[in-house]
């Protein structure tokens, strides 16, 4: 595996289950047992009703492109040599939005509303990162 030259997540107690699941190829998000709301990014409280009765649920991993941009300038290490790349907000079927890149397709083919599904890339032994690709 070539060395990962992009930023890596810092994992804390409240986000560790998410990153552990990614390593196993699962996308999980949080749902509140009290108010039944989904939330993303993960946190130690329900951002809606402020209770702590939140549990992890496996997401379908499917969603649509809510919006995107084809990035043509970014001098940051790891991204400069990948230009142009697609930065996107994907709305999962569960109704929460995630930042991601749309991969495994021509950037010019990406459209708002396009169905996408999660795919995982192993960054190193400890960390695997979720991306999205056109739904197959």
């Amino acid at each position: 595996m070539s060395e990962w030259n992009k930023p890596l997540p810092t994992i804390s107690g409240e986000t560790k289950p998410f990153w552990d699941a990614c390593r196993r190829g699962n996308l999980i998000i949080q749902k509140c047992d009290r108010c039944q709301e989904y939330q993303f990014y993960p946190r130690g409280i329900c951002a809606n009703c402020w209770c702590q009765d939140i549990r992890w649920v496996t997401a379908t991993g499917k969603g649509t492109v809510w919006t995107f941009t084809v990035t043509r300038q970014n001098r940051t290490l790891g991204f400069e040599d990948e230009l142009p790349y697609v930065l996107a907000l994907v709305e999962l079927d569960e109704g929460v939005k995630m930042f991601t890149n749309i991969v495994e397709c021509d950037p010019n083919e990406v459209k708002i509303g396009m169905p996408v599904e999660v795919t995982f890339v192993q960054a190193n032994q400890q960390i695997t990162i979720p991306y999205f690709k056109p739904a197959g």
């Binding site: 890596l8 997540p9 810092t10 990014y41 941009t69 990035t71 043509r72 990948e82 930065l87 708002i112």
Partner: protein, 394 residues
């Protein structure tokens, strides 16, 4: 209803813009210091009159270090840092403190060496300074994907086009109008008029935004002196009254907010209510123009036109001096200056216009009695602040 009538409880009595666009030989504290002194001189006040100090930024130019540098002992220090629009929040906070009788006179100041520091403000994420350790959230769920500031605005522009049929040519109208104003400002970085075709034919930075859709990067700074009615009465210039102020933030809402609606939607209502004015009363506006889409979205969510109609609204010269709603008459961030955070310059130019400082020249907005400033800080696509202030001539 507020228990205190804040309308005209404070006034802008002194201003100074540090006109430098490139100042590698100065420190940020020096630019702030020089600005504070000159703004107080503009007001006819001095060091001993100031009991509040407000600034934004990191520790290097925090209120603590600035009080040290200026050898001041303010009774109120406010370091609210919510991005480029921080200074509209500062004015709101100074208004509160003055109305409550806790201070009589505050100075708001800012400086930045973004240009001489070689900082890619718009086209690098948190990781632009090398891959520093990310915060567990939200950065660890965002920065992995190569977010840039321009990208976070471009995503909102892309969706605006998708939902409402807004075009690149309409976004370009914003850049063209503001460049026209820059041509009248001898201090502006870019002064040569441009056309819509110039904008849409230029390099794309992050689709759908072209280079002239993005603000410039400069050094610079300035200061604003805010005072109670009693102090204002004895200042050199006629006071520019704070009529209304409103503050808001917008964010992903745990993944559920529609960020096509920005913080301006929340902040403008209390500002208009406090001021007791309507949109028809606004003679000119200073709209934070980090990007052309920022202006279009802000005008919509401030209520100057309906959601989705911003593309038409910004077209046809409406935003130019002589038009229905002149904006950014100094040339804005798109053409004049943008040293990291631009919100203070909105207050400076609207004060100049309300003083009728350009009377007899093309830059003066005719019969300018009421001005609106709206500062946006952060990024439209992820999280941002919005501060609206309404100012009035005596």
């Amino acid at each position: 209803m507020p228990t205190v009538d804040l309308r005209k409880a404070a006034a802008i009595v002194g201003i100074h813009e540090h006109i430098t666009r490139y100042a590698p030989d100065k420190s940020e504290l020096q630019i702030q210091g020089e600005s504070v002194i000159k703004a107080l001189d503009d007001a006819g006040l001095g060091k001993d009159d100031v009991d509040g100090l407000l600034t934004a930024g990191n520790i290097r130019n925090s209120g603590l270090n600035l009080a040290d540098y200026l050898n001041m002992y303010p009774k109120m220090v406010d370091n609210t840092t919510v991005g480029g629009g921080s200074f509209e929040f500062h004015l709101s906070h100074a208004l509160n403190a003055i109305a409550a009788g806790r201070i009589n006179c505050a100075v708001i100041t800012y400086s930045s060496l973004a240009r001489s520091g070689g900082i890619s403000v718009g086209t690098g994420g948190v990781a632009r300074f090398g891959h520093a350790k990310l915060d567990p959230s939200p950065d660890s769920f965002e920065e992995l994907y190569g977010l840039t500031t321009v990208g976070l605005y471009a995503m909102i522009a892309q969706r605006h086009m998708h939902l409402y049929g807004t075009t690149s040519e309409q976004l370009a109208e914003v850049a063209v109008a503001i460049r026209q104003h820059a041509s009248m400002n001898p201090e502006a970085l870019f002064r040569d008029p441009i056309t819509v075709q110039d904008v849409v034919n230029s390099r794309v930075i992050s689709t759908p935004l072209h280079l002239p859709d993005c603000c410039v990067i400069t050094d610079g700074g300035g200061a604003v002196v805010v005072a109670s009615p009693e102090v204002a009465r004895n200042c050199k210039h006629n006071p520019v009254w704070v009529l209304g102020a409103g503050e808001a933030v917008a964010h992903q809402g745990a993944g559920k907010r529609d960020l096509q609606f920005i913080a301006a939607k929340q902040s403008h209502e209390p500002a208009f209510a406090m001021a007791g004015v309507t949109h028809a009363d606004i003679d000119m506006a200073m709209i934070y123009d980090s990007f052309t889409i920022t202006v279009l979205e802000t005008l919509e969510d401030l209520g100057f036109c309906k959601k989705g109609e911003g593309g038409d609204f910004v077209s046809g010269g409406r935003l130019q001096i002589g038009g229905e709603l002149p904006i950014n008459t100094d040339g804005g961030g798109l053409s004049s200056n943008h040293p990291g955070m631009r919100g203070i310059f909105l207050l400076l130019e609207s004060t100049r216009q309300l003083r009728h400082q350009f009377e007899g020249t093309a830059r003066q907005v005719q019969n300018c009695d009421v001005a609106l400033c709206h500062g946006t800080g952060g990024a439209l696509g992820s999280r941002h602040s919005g501060g609206t202030v309404i100012l009035g001539r005596n």
